[in-house]
Each structure stands twice: as structure tokens, then as C-alpha cells.
């Protein structure tokens, strides 16, 4: 048992780390709830792209054609990314932009990989889910907003750890999970806060920590650019960037990557000059096919003029860590039951946050019968000797 002095310090840490981050954590829980079900909600709203049923082995059209079809919808823009959902290779999602590094004015066109039909344009910067995602990821404030939320997430982790330290002194007189329903509402909510907090502990810590890691995604990719990517494209250093109209065949680049890694599938292709590749290469990001490796990517750099593979390396540990942390944050790796569990735990977290706030707002209720329920070290109303039994009323 920590000393009374230490407990008071932990109590101070728990109070302030929670108070500062609670409003933002409530926002993240509320906006995260629909994000767990973004595919289902997209389906209901009719914004989800649905490919018509065809024979599974229907021939695929060339990616160069796919790109032409997408650009025909937005002739003033050029290719930025081409991607496929992990579990659906019938649709190509082509992201178009004004310049390779644009972060606004992006358009996405979904193209049927078999017929070449333009299936729709998933809205990238409007709609309910966009608002939810922006509030969740960056508060509409770009990288500074993301890093700010990451810092709030760190405070949440501090609040969790300090909450665990405080759990034992509160529970000395209670059985596990006991909620004193016959007592005042403050006592009832204190018990509930302790119960829900300790049960959701591991899940919330993992979701919180992986969320914090995700806020560094942009920085990690930029670091990778100067680290491994710089080594891979060293021979091209000093060459002027490729104009978009001089790019060679996209299909040739993807075919070369598939030939190099025949057991893998194409995850996404980054066009030259974008964040994920060099100014002279198509970055073809291949993913594995088993559950774990389908989350990881292997970049294959293909010369965007000649279509020759120039280099391919395993991702460094920090990007592997980032990619592994994503499913653990999203809860999208165990089917519908896991989504539902994620949603329930999210709601329980809202209750933990709300009850913590309530307990703080009602902190003035001292001198009542409730106060004796708190460990003496925390109320400061008892001599700091924790070995002595506290009299139970």
C-alpha cells in the first residue's frame, strides 16, 4: 500500500489528468461510436460503394484504363492513390488531386475492376461520417489538432494508471464489483466508477495507447521518407521531379510488383511525389493474405518511367508498430461481434468519464456520511496512518 502522502499525490494526478482530458475523451467516445460501424452506416446512407455481382473469375481491366476512367470524371486532376479494400478486389478506389501533395480538394472515384464502370464518388470532405472522422482525428485542425488529441490521449493513459493505483484503497472494505445501491447517489456512482473503470481498464488502455500512436502516423511516415525511403531512392537524388503527364504505365508498375511478390495482394499504389513514395517511383504497397500480414504492407518501388522494380524492403519497426496498432484501435479485426463489443465498451467508457466528472462536481459534499467512505489518506481528515482500520459506519 502506498504511503498516505503518495496516495494524495496519485489522487492529485488522477484528478487533473482526467479533468483536462475528459471533455475531449467524451468527444472521442461519441464520435468513435459511429466510426466503429462506418461501413454499415455508409451502407444505410447509400454512400457505400457496391459492386454488382459477377463471376468471381471475371477478367479485370487494365489499371491504366481504370485511371483514365477516374480522371475523365475530374479532368483537371491527376492520380494520387489507387487502392482496394482488403476483402474486395472488385473495386478500385482512385484518389485524385491537384498536386501530389495536396491535402484539400481531393476527389475519389470508385471504378469497377471488371467492367470499368464508375460506381460512384465516395465523399472525402463532406457528409456525416466526414464530420465524425474529422472531430475524432483532428478537430478540423490538421496535424496540430491530431497531435493535440494525442496529448489528451497521453493524459488519459496517466489517468488510467493513477486510477488503478487509487483503486485498492477505495476497495479495501468492498467485495469486487460491489455497488452500494442503498447509499447516496455519490457513493453509488463512486462504486460504479471504480467497477467500470477497473473492468474496462485493459481495453481502454490499449485503445487509448494505440490511438495515441495513430496520432503520430503522419510524423512516422515523414520520418520514414528521410530514413529508409531516402536510402531506397538515393540513385535518383538530384533528378527533377517527374511531371504527371510523363508517368509510365500504372498497370506495368503493379504487374512488376506482383511478379516480385506473387503471394501478396495489392493494398494501394502511391503515385510519384506523394507522401508514401519518391518523386520518381510508383510506390506499390503489397499486403499479405493471412489475418496478421494483411495488416502489414511491403512497399515495392517501381521506376515510374521504365516500370522496373528498383527496391523493396520490409517496413521498419515503427511503421509495423503503427500498422499493428490500427486494428487494435478500430476494433475492425474480429467481425460483427467484435464491433458490438467495441461499441458496448465505448459506452461503458462514456459512463466512466461521466461518473468521474460527476464525482468531481459533487466533491463539495464533505461532512456528510459519504466522506467516511473515502480512504482517510485522500480526505485528509484522518491521521495518516493507513494501518489503522477505518471504522465502517
Amino acid at each position: 500500500m502506498p504511503s498516505p502522502r503518495a496516495l494524495r499525490a496519485w489522487s492529485w494526478v488522477h484528478k487533473w489528468s482526467s479533468l483536462v482530458c475528459t471533455v475531449f475523451m467524451l468527444l472521442l467516445c461519441l464520435t468513435g461510436l459511429p466510426l466503429i460501424f462506418h461501413h454499415e452506416i455508409g451502407h444505410l446512407l447509400g454512400t457505400e460503394i457496391e459492386a454488382p455481382e459477377m463471376a468471381a473469375d471475371a477478367p479485370r481491366i487494365s489499371l491504366d484504363r481504370v485511371l483514365e476512367i477516374a480522371i475523365a470524371e475530374h479532368p483537371e486532376k491527376g492520380g494520387m492513390y489507387v487502392s482496394q479494400e482488403e476483402d474486395d478486389d472488385r473495386v478500385w478506389y482512385v484518389t485524385l488531386s491537384d498536386t501530389p501533395l495536396s491535402d484539400s480538394g481531393l476527389k475519389q472515384v470508385a471504378v469497377d475492376a471488371r467492367t470499368g464502370e464508375a460506381l460512384g464518388q465516395p465523399p472525402l470532405d463532406s457528409g456525416f461520417m466526414h464530420i465524425m472522422l474529422s472531430l475524432h482525428v483532428d478537430l478540423f485542425a490538421g496535424l496540430p489538432g491530431t497531435l493535440f488529441l494525442g496529448f489528451m490521449g497521453l493524459l488519459l493513459l496517466v489517468a488510467i494508471v493513477s486510477g488503478v493505483v487509487l483503486y485498492a484503497p477505495f476497495m479495501r472494505k468492498l467485495g469486487f464489483g460491489e455497488v452500494r445501491r442503498d447509499r447516496s447517489s455519490r457513493v453509488r456512482w463512486l462504486d460504479l466508477h471504480n467497477l467500470l473503470g477497473i473492468v474496462t481498464l485493459t481495453w481502454l488502455f490499449v485503445v487509448g495507447a494505440t490511438g495515441v500512436i495513430n496520432t503520430w502516423a503522419d510524423l512516422l511516415v515523414r520520418y520514414w521518407q528521410t530514413d529508409q525511403m531516402a536510402e531506397m531512392v538515393a540513385p535518383y537524388r538530384g533528378q527533377p521531379p517527374l511531371e504527371r503527364n510523363r508517368l509510365g504505365s500504372l498497370q506495368a508498375a503493379v504487374s512488376a510488383a506482383v511478379a516480385l511478390e506473387p503471394s501478396m495482394k495489392v493494398g494501394f499504389v502511391a503515385f510519384p511525389g506523394t507522401l508514401f513514395t519518391s518523386p520518381h517511383h510508383y510506390g506499390v504497397f503489397m499486403r499479405g493474405t493471412d489475418p496478421l500480414n494483411s495488416r502489414l504492407f511491403k512497399p515495392v518501388l517501381v521506376d515510374a518511367v521504365t516500370g522496373q522494380v528498383t527496391d523493396s524492403r520490409e517496413l521498419p519497426w515503427y511503421l509495423t508498430g503503427l500498422l499493428i496498432s490500427q486494428p487494435l484501435h478500430f476494433g475492425d479485426y474480429g467481425g460483427r461481434p467484435m464491433q458490438i463489443i467495441w461499441a458496448v465498451l465505448d459506452i461503458l467508457t462514456i459512463i466512466v468519464l461521466g461518473s468521474g466528472l460527476y464525482l468531481w462536481l459533487r466533491r463539495g459534499v464533505t461532512g456528510s456520511a459519504d466522506a467516511v467512505e473515502l480512504p482517510p489518506a485522500l480526505t485528509g481528515r484522518e491521521a495518516p496512518n493507513l494501518n489503522r482500520e477505518v471504522t465502517h459506519p
Binding site: 483503486y167 469486487f176 464489483g177 467497477l195 474496462t200 489475418p291 495488416r295 479485426y333 467484435m338 461503458l348
Partner: protein
């Protein structure tokens, strides 16, 4: 050992079991599909179920 249990057991036994079940549930679904998912649902589902039951279910 007995002294340690007496000191920590009453308060920490269940929280440790729940933390382990959560951790197993979080990791297994990452490693595979089918049975791996089932183990994950069982672990995380019982943690979540226990939470709801203890908080609101019993003693009503």
C-alpha cells in the same frame, strides 16, 4: 505466498483475471480467423458482460 495472497488477493484477483481475459481477447483475433475470433469474442464478451451485469444486472 499466503501473506501475499491475503494482502493482494481480495482486491486484485478479479481485476487481474479480467485484465488477462481482455488481453487474450484483444490479441487472438489479430492472429487468425475462425477459432481465433471465437476465443476473442468469448474473452472480450465475458469481460463486457461481467461489467454490465455487475453494474446494473444483479440485485434488482
Amino acid at each position: 505466498m499466503k501473506a501475499l495472497w491475503n494482502a493482494l488477493g481480495p482486491v486484485w484477483a478479479w481485476p487481474v483475471v479480467i485484465a488477462l481475459a481482455s488481453a487474450i481477447g484483444l490479441v487472438t483475433a489479430l492472429l487468425g480467423d475462425g477459432p481465433w475470433d471465437w476465443v476473442s469474442w468469448l474473452c472480450l464478451g465475458s469481460v463486457t458482460g461481467a461489467c454490465v451485469w455487475l453494474g446494473w444486472g444483479r440485485g434488482r
